[in-house]
């Protein structure tokens, strides 16, 4: 579907505004006019335009000053400046300040048509480039979905069949099982694959931040809202949105989310214009949403709206057969990224890896291999390179929380309680790590 290009005309002469307005309207563009720079900047605060066609000589703020202000707010804006009094100096100045082009009034009709057509082409190329870039990232990540075990084959079959539909999906599974990878795989195999895959980590954001992240905000909506900003729902138009840790959202956000899912329309924080977006929702949680509904902590109507299809991702301990393949994959991945020659692994080390319980699932296995490549001799991974002894679990009576607590504590010690580095190693953000530290009341050894 072709996007309708919008043009803002800024000129103090009414006849120029009217002429350009009529010309562009006949070409099917959405057109707005402003008689001075101040009005144009006000319009730009509440609306978005693909192309801004501005006169240089205007009473009050001139076109060049307006160009600088627009560029400081939105550097990728396409601004074409026009003047009746062309000088090389002003042309150079305008182009140096970021103008897309510079034209002298009156124009030849063909020049005007070509100018706008070229700018339009650039906009669609940029959009296409952005979508392709996102698609490449999505596809690269999908390659990480590895395994030939029966559990994995079942999962891949489910992914393939659900990808073709437009239904909402809830992915359940323990932490570290690769829920986001599965979400990306669903998107990459769906008819929406040429459009964005947008991921939101609901658990890492406070209620107000999540609201602004999902719906976007208008300039001045709150302290620090310097510019208009698109929300994730808007960014996911024609594509898919992945809401991770959906169980953590507040009851207010649950109501808001339900409304958006039903109408596919929303209003930016601090705004008043209804925006519509066509997106598919994929959610993930490691909590039991059904019992949260029974306890009254998760809305039943939202649960049924989201839970059209439920895919459960098995923990790594239930797909031991995939461990050799995963180990091989992670060795190659980290040797390449660390610029090292391909390493191999001892049979005994691999055997021990297959006996391990993996409370942190694939993420834990990946971290082990990464560590082994960092600390090992770079040629062969042996038992001594694997941190199995400290975390080996052979009792099935301990809870998942106990495993998680022990694992986080181990990583924190390893990185001397440097939260940023520990969070990076655990592949979670700092907010989540702080939340876990509070939850398990973890403290450094000397406290």
């Amino acid at each position: 579907m072709a996007k309708k290009i919008s043009i803002l005309i800024v000129d103090d002469e009414e006849s120029v505004r009217d002429s350009l307005y009529n010309w562009f309207i006949e070409d099917g563009y959405r057109v707005e006019c402003a008689e001075n720079a101040k009005k144009a900047l006000t319009l730009l605060e509440s609306d978005q335009f693909d192309i801004i066609l501005a006169d240089i000589k205007m009473p009050g703020m001139d076109g060049l000053e307006m160009l600088r202000r627009i560029k400081s707010i939105k550097p990728d804006s396409i601004v074409i400046v026009m003047t009746a009094f062309a000088t090389v100096d002003t042309a150079v100045k305008a182009l140096k300040d970021g103008a897309y082009d510079y034209v002298t009034k009156p124009f030849d009709p063909d020049d005007l048509t070509h100018l706008i057509r070229n700018a339009t082409k650039m906009i669609s190329l940029e959009d296409e480039n952005e979508n392709l870039r996102k698609k490449v990232i999505t596809l690269e990540n999908v390659e990480d979905l590895i395994g030939t075990s029966e559990a994995m084959k079942d999962l891949l079959r489910e992914v393939e069949s659900v990808a073709q539909t437009n239904s909402s999906v809830i992915l359940t599974g323990e932490s570290g099982t690769g829920k986001e990878l599965v979400a990306r795989a669903i998107h990459a195999n769906s008819p929406r694959r040429f459009f964005p895959f947008v991921s939101v980590h609901c658990g890492a954001l406070t209620e107000s931040l999540l609201e602004s992240e999902l719906f976007g905000h208008e300039k001045g909506a709150f302290t620090g809202a310097m510019y208009n900003r698109k929300g994730r729902f808007e960014m996911a138009d024609s594509g898919s949105i992945f809401l991770d840790e959906i169980a953590t959202i507040s009851s207010k956000m649950q109501v808001e989310l339900l409304r958006v899912l039903e109408s596919k329309t929303f209003i930016r924080v601090g705004g008043n214009k209804e925006i519509s977006s066509d997106f598919r929702v994929i959610c993930a949680t490691n909590k039991d949403l059904k019992s949260m509904v029974e306890q009254g902590t998760f809305r039943e109507d939202l649960y049924y709206r989201l839970n059209v299809v439920n895919i459960h991702i098995p923990p790594l301990r239930d797909r031991i057969a995939d461990i050799p393949l995963l180990v091989d994959y992670f060795i190659k991945k980290y040797c390449t990224s660390m610029n090292k020659p391909p390493a191999s692994i001892d049979i005994s080390a691999l055997k021990r890896l297959q006996e391990f319980n993996y409370p942190g699932n694939i993420r834990e296995l990946e971290n082990m291999i990464e560590r082994a490549i960092v600390v090992g001799d770079g040629k062969r991974i042996t038992l001594k390179d694997l941190p199995l002894e400290k975390t080996m679990v052979n009792s099935s009576t301990e809870s998942l929380d106990d495993f998680e607590k022990a694992f986080i504590l181990q990583i924190l010690h390893k990185y001397s309680w440097n939260i940023s580095r520990a969070a990076k190693a655990l592949k979670v953000d700092r907010v989540t790590l702080y939340a876990k530290i509070r939850k398990y009341d973890l403290k450094p050894l000397d406290q």
């Binding site: 006849s15 009217d18 002429s19 350009l20 009529n22 070409d27 009034k105 124009f107 009709p109 005007l112």
Partner: protein, 178 residues
Amino acid sequence: MSLPNITLISFGFFEQDFLEQIAKAVQAEFDFTVNIREGRIELGEYYDPARRQYNGNTLISIVDSMTFPESNKILGLFNVDLFIPILTYIFGQAYLNGKSGIASIYRLSNERYGMPKDEQILLDRTKKEVIHELGHTFGLIHCDNPICVMRSSTYLEDVDQKRQNLCHNCKTKLEIIF
């Protein structure tokens, strides 16, 4: 709502046969009755000496102010060089979804470009330009189809390349309007 009839007003001298053939082409394309009238305005008032051209914006507003009980679409046909303030020249213009449009044969003749006179080519080009501007008054925007009459044409070559008919898509849009 009664179906619109179209009035074609000529400003300046045109052969009656020339006007009738244009009216016939318009009628065939839109399937509405076309009336031909002769307009009388003092064109000198709309002349811009600095540009040595006639102001298309003022002329279209004059045409738009005219009312004819039998029709609700009006097309003014001129034989002068038209301009609008932002463009060096125009072949014609119209109010999108409005009542009126204007067109001029001034830049449509071969002689203007140093080529031999050809009455048939001039007639064909004028038919296309008139149908194009009337298409805008019915709400049609420029079309990407290279042979559709609603294709934007800023050069004579563009006008010659297209046909005097609406493409299937534009015809469908027009049918939806009515």
